[in-house]
Symmetry: C3
Subunit: 682 residues, 3 copies
């Protein structure tokens, strides 16, 4: 089943907090929104106290007034459950509802996401408030959908409360049945960690050197994901009792220790995302950083959007950055330059968003987020953002047909939740994924090769792989046997798979079975890893591949072909110079390649070229590297979306007669994309 | 009312700890001190156990013997209350007296300043020991004054104990009356932080990302200041019952979260300061740092002295650095070079000190501070510091008349406690103040323009502004309406005011009202801020001002003149190139200028020049930038104090016949200040 | 009494964990070991649950089966006590057995070394399990020795539990008798820290700025050492009841806060060491670091081995690195290059090891240490390490006679436990030792001068000093009077002693007595320190010595000769230019030198040369700096061990006819040591 948003036209929205402003402003605000092209408001998140000021004292008049006004004005509403910010009375009366820091210190009221998702009393009070809200507003005609909670696991994705330990034990008992089975799976024989009573087991607690049992820590992350999903399912099941037919259920953001395939399956109709491209600044990517991240800056948001697309092929943006970002205490970001807000909205649409809702209507004038600038400033005067919104209003109207079209990629870079969670606690394989995926993304971007991310989930089938010519599995350390079998079928039918270092050396619990690496993939690549080593920081290592020297960073493996061949050989001052570093083996109509290192951008480019996947639209468009090309397709119709992230005009050539949907003007021959410019050529 | 020290001659003192040394050394120590020019000893701080060894067991014989000896020898004494270091018996028996770390872990015995100022039992025991001490020694003829506590809030200026939460609630109830008013003022509607019971409120507790409600945190700092003042007032009220007529009450040091105007008002006769110019090394200012701090090094202490002067126009130095500094665990500093101890004493005097007491007589030979070197080393042999002290003895005798003269400045840079406290938790405006004030100080130093700091306190009146030609309000984010009104009057009468970015965008609780920035100052500067942005680290931004390009660092604002004019326009690759960046508006006989950025040193110099305030004494003295010029005046007599912070001689020209008070020699024409040299020309 | 291993031939061993592998693999594993030259296995460490699965339920069948198999196969066994990893049931039932973090948070199950050594219940349960194990296996013929615990104090060497405070009080009462004596010794008069009740005293607790009483902290470290020794003595006394005649007792590793002289005296026959030369990478020494550490890399392990030798002249290596190292969470290291495993084994032997046991037979495939690679990889295939082991098998057989020979050094660099422990909390003298010892080691290495470390223990006698021509006491701040007296005798008889800055300025409690520095050494060096200063980071300081400028880093002292002479004078822009910086005084047949700074490598070289100790074997061997020369002697026979740490061949000249014991080939004239090559010339 596919979890996508279904809209018949591109749609603009905004996040609004009626409780933050004098009620007398509401009508003016709605009028200004509607004029500027906003047709949907998100409301209610964080507003628990507006429904239940003190325990059990429910009152629904406040949002009733707002919904009625919205209905009168013709504004549609996404209504939120307020469970991300429980009231002070709740956490003071029931401190067992709070999450804790690793040392057991409780996480306190005043920020958000401070509760666990396991204490019975918290679950009960959440269920009650959601039941009341959905019961009260579910049938309201202004509502078109529901958002559960807000950015779950954003402030932290680890849980250390007593309630979590109790629930974790139940999870383990249910999964393993006996302590013997648990001890075996968790490798507790090492360092004498054997458990002889379930009560001896806790979520991760303080150890010397912060080094708890890695297998149990991985299990805890699986448990956190299950819990988070259960927390959402509980809310979704309630909402489903009351929502009007056609009203959707979603949530916003993609954060850690949640299997979003599972979340969709149990609770959502589709996912929405919160897109803030200027995090490139506060995360260090944009300040003179020589890496791909530093070079691509806000363009890197496309990688996050690819991840969202792997969850919901067509999705929404619930929060799209409209101004400079930052809390009072952290995440400082400059203001978007004129045109960037529009550019980023189109970046989201290019990658599969059919709904774009801006954060937020007017900058909040109290609390931590006074620097998360909205469409309007504190002073409520008109802004250049409002003007850009009007441009988007007109453009999305002209290109409304894009809704429902699909991002079209022939390359997919795969990820695997258990491998990621294990990698967080493993400095040998964990850091490789970020490096390699960024380099594949960068290589695809400059080659104008649309690229997907693909989740190696439990229910992945051959039909999901069929659209792709090339699958990249960067460093899937915990590669399941079942997935390896699927890949073999894919290759036999003509697919090409590329693996990176450390593939398949761990099992589902993060243990290292007594078998040669890459374990389940060894047969497919026709060889094994004899030895590996970290690359010392002052060493440079490469392979000779296709007649060129190609960098092989971070962790190197010395390979031994069996029925595969040595496609590349090490070229280095290290002792393994000349030995195999890249393997290839053909199987059926396809082939598999194994690269014994992290992927450099040069390696990704070389392999793209080898696979004939560079510049797939060169027939139509001749583009400089600075321009991103995204392609969405609907039936036979292809939309070529061109995005210029620089502050200078960029020339390009259009080889056929096309039309820019945003202006309705024809495009052929020599053309130019203005600074921060966008075209949708069809 | 003015809170100044009143001495009829420059006076030298020393910090002495009779309890650290064999009683048999006392007489020799006092004799050596007196010979070297010391006439005042500070004693008793930290010595609680010498008065009250166990609870309620008072014994005053120890210091009685010392005071009697001092009286016989003719040594005057400043007596301290010992409340900064409560005894082990106290904190073990009453752990509720301890301060806590943010997670609630108690701060334990063994260091100093480890108690809160709120627990009733601590206040009671402090009151009792002070009552006993003052009652016992108050009438002793050797005593000339009292020091309350020691460096209050130096080791920490935050309090997290349970007693603090109890007291904080009482403070809030008293201030806001109702929870409704509190919720409104604290912006608790954001993230659903509303309180429905006073017991739900605590001093800042652990939150995710260490991000508590910023308004409540600001309120907590106001509360800490009130508490600290009340703690001092309690002690001062007791001492006043017993002190002899003329004996003063003071304290030492200037630290965080205390409104020193308030402290003076309720508890002190004047403030004293602890001046350690070689903190320039351990704070990172002196090791190859290209900033103004790195360039000026120990000369930067003048800025701290200006802050002291803003509290007490004539003040004392209770601890003047005499040797290399450092604890066993931190703050490592090199030894002063020969001449620097003398130089720094004159630096203090130049800036308004009439009393200079050195820290300390002899280096402590146990505990944490064995590397805070005193006049004498551990081994008690004569030292070069003792020799320098003798020089100062003779020089201060010759220049004794300086006492009571006033530091003469025409420029004042203003500060505002609530803005500073808010800025500690706001990375957008908070860091601007340090940069801008340092740059104004540096610009004034090299222009030989004496500069004051000025506290924008509640009771500031026009008469306090009258002496100045120029007021600089660097980034007074929480500018009160009342202060803005006062400034308008000041301008109308001919004054000039310069504002920096982010002026007046917050209200008294740190909220951002729905009005254009700079809020209360908008009318005075004749325009508003349309937009602001942080400057990315790899960007350079400037304005064209007075025909030159002048750097505009950190945070940039795009301005919109109303009845003001665009004095400077942006000159940058950023999108606001050409738009107004500096505004000016004339009102009455004066004018106001608004600069939409942090102040670069170039900007401060340009504005000093524009205001005609560079080299105000050029008529008399032609000085290189390396020499500091300070001017103190008494009636018609002006003292020009020249200080050379370098290790090389510095030439200068004296245009009129003057006399160096330190030597009695005439000075006219070409002259030279030796390395680390000082002259007092009158 | 000497604590050395006594073997009649060089012996190879391996660490094996029978509990980690299917029992069906044991026989194959032992056969492969024996074939490759392994004759000793270490087993049982960490395996508490294999003996006592739940409290009191003892079962010895598992290791009985292994021991019986070993005996059948002819494999000898070192058996371990499992007290480093108590079982979960123990720490859950008795949480008072756990160590704590400084804030009191308990250190939890899941890692190792998480218990304190003071709680009565832990001591009782340890005694019982050791009694059971020793009683059961003590007479087994396969066993040749016992290892107590594992790497005690490796994960932490500080203890903060309640049980530690209770025991610390008892220790202090026993040592000081009265609170008056304690207060005096601990300098509690400073900051009013006086104790009036024993119950007021705790092990270090949280203080502001993490700055507890330094004297009490030093005392706590002495207490920790006493405790650790007592914990071992308790185990050793039990084992001694049951072990067979000739079976030894040892432990592995050298870690903090243990006086290993004491440990030998009370519990061990000798020490063994865990040698991991590639820590040079994870500790930052090898990645482009310009210091001696960065330059020497794995060669620096020789310094650690010298420390082991100072404890046991002939010792064992219990864990010798055989593959790349690292936990999942930290300590990442590259794999050894081919030849390095062999090289490092010979490095250990060169420095006095007669037994070398590799860590570990096969890499663990679960838990934290999956990246501590063993001889065999997870996949159990043959490895290049196994091949290198076979080489070592043959080489150690040919050079078997080395066993029992002694490392021959004429230079000793001295260390002193209380000075080291005090220095950990003193940033003025503490960091000097590491710098100076490393520079002395580097100077000796490139001069091919064998060098010892020497512990300045309580029972040090003149006979222990007699073998040396030169003693270096880098910065023995707490130099005891008794040791100073011994050094005087040593000098009188012709010895040469070199002292560095800060010698003797503290007493046994870390206080600074009222006497000139260097205190007890002042008479011997014929002068005193008038003044000291830290060297600012941007300053360069040197002395002129023997006609050259020699760097004097970190902390500089200005010296005053009395009956000594100024051997070197400061050469610097600092104020003490030209004043004495190095003193010398002759006494009897010898002399003492005092250097008023940390030792630069240039200074160490200059002094080695001055003492005529460079290239002591130049008569026989002319070696490049890249080759280490170690010399072991037995009677008249000298073994010259040459080690090449580089990846390139290194030429050298052998002036006499010698034989390489590893090959039996003669060596004379021009010769070459291959990359990572080793020769044992005799």
């Amino acid at each position: 089943m596919e979890y996508s948003i279904h809209l018949d036209r591109l749609t603009l929205g905004v996040c609004y907090y009626p409780e933050h402003w004098p009620e007398s402003l509401w009508e003016q605000d709605l009028d200004r929104m509607l004029e500027a092209g906003i047709s949907v408001c998100r409301i209610g998140e964080f507003a628990w106290s507006k429904f239940e000021r003190t325990e059990g004292a429910f009152d629904f008049s406040f949002f009733q007034r707002f919904l009625d006004l919205a209905q009168r004005k013709g504004m549609k509403v996404i209504f939120c459950t307020p469970t991300a910010t429980p009231p002070a009375w709740l956490t003071e009366k029931y401190p067992e509802t709070l999450n804790a820091f690793p040392d057991g210190t409780l996480v306190r009221h005043g920020m958000r996401c401070h509760c666990n998702h396991t204490s019975p009393v918290f679950l009960k009070l959440c269920a009650r408030v959601v039941e009341e809200i959905a019961g009260h507003y579910g049938s309201h005609p202004a509502i078109i959908g529901w958002q559960i909670d807000n950015e779950i696991n954003c402030e932290t994705n680890m849980f250390y409360s007593e309630a979590d330990s109790v629930a974790f034990r139940a999870y383990l008992k249910d999964k393993f049945g006996t302590l013997e089975a648990l001890n075996q799976a968790m490798g507790t024989v090492f360092w004498n960690q054997e458990y002889t009573d379930w009560e001896e087991i806790f979520v991760a607690r303080p150890t010397l050197a912060n080094s708890p049992n890695p297998h149990l820590l991985l299990e805890q992350k699986k448990f956190i994901s299950e819990n988070s999903v259960a927390f959402f399912k509980m809310q979704a099941d309630i909402i489903k009792k009351y929502r009007k037919p056609g009203d959707f259920i979603t949530t916003n953001g993609v954060f850690g220790h949640i299997d979003y395939q599972d979340l969709n399956r149990w609770a959502l109709d589709f996912i929405t995302y919160d897109s803030y491209p200027n995090f490139a600044y506060s995360l260090g990517g944009a300040n003179g950083n020589a890496s791909a991240f530093g070079r691509l800056r806000d363009r890197v948001s496309g990688l996050s959007l690819a991840r969202v697309r792997s969850i919901s092929p067509n999705f929404g943006i619930m929060e799209q950055q409209s101004g400079g970002g930052g809390w009072q205490t952290r995440m400082p970001q400059p203001a978007p330059r004129p045109g960037q807000m529009r550019l980023w909205a189109w970046q989201s649409i290019a990658h599969g968003a059919d709904f774009v809702s801006f954060f937020r209507w007017r900058t909040c004038n109290v609390g931590m987020e006074i620097y998360w600038n909205g469409i309007l400033p504190w002073d409520n005067r008109d802004s250049r953002q409002l003007e850009e919104l009007r441009v988007l209003r007109d453009e999305t109207a002209r290109a409304a047909e894009l809704a429902g079209s699909r991002y079209a990629a022939k390359v997919a870079v795969c990820y695997h939740y258990p491998t990621q969670w294990d990698g967080e606690g493993d400095i040998f394989h964990g850091p490789l994924e970020g490096v390699s995926v960024m380099n594949w993304f960068a290589a695809c971007q400059v080659a104008h090769t649309p690229m997907d991310l693909l989740c190696l989930g439990e229910d992945l089938g051959l039909e999901a792989l069929a659209p792709y010519d090339l699958l990249v599995l960067p460093h899937i350390a915990l590669l399941p046997e079942k997935t390896a079998g699927l890949l073999k079928e894919y290759v036999e039918r003509g697919g090409r798979v590329i693996f990176g270092a450390r593939t398949g050396f761990k099992d589902e619990f993060g243990r290292c079975p007594m078998r040669p690496t890459p374990g389940p993939a060894a047969e497919l690549v026709g060889g094994t890893v004899r030895e590996y080593t970290l690359v010392p920081e002052d060493s440079r290592t490469a392979v000779v591949l296709f007649g060129r020297s190609v960098p092989m960073p971070r962790l190197n493996e010395i390979l031994e072909p069996e029925d595969g061949e040595a496609l590349g050989r090490w070229y280095t001052r290290e002792f393994y110079d000349g030995q195999p570093g890249v393997l290839r083996k053909r199987t059926g109509k396809g082939e598999a390649i194994y690269v014994g290192a992290a992927f450099s951008e040069e390696m990704a480019s070389a392999l793209l070229s080898y696979a004939g996947l560079e510049e797939p639209y060169a027939q139509w468009l001749d583009l400089p590297q600075d321009i991103e090309l995204a392609v969405r397709k609907k039936g036979d119709r292809a939309y070529h979306i061109l995005l210029n992230y620089t502050d200078a005009p960029r020339p390009f050539t259009c080889h056929g007669p096309m039309t820019d949907l945003l202006t309705g003007l024809p495009c052929e021959g020599e053309a130019e994309l203005p600074p921060y410019g966008v075209m949708v050529l069809a």
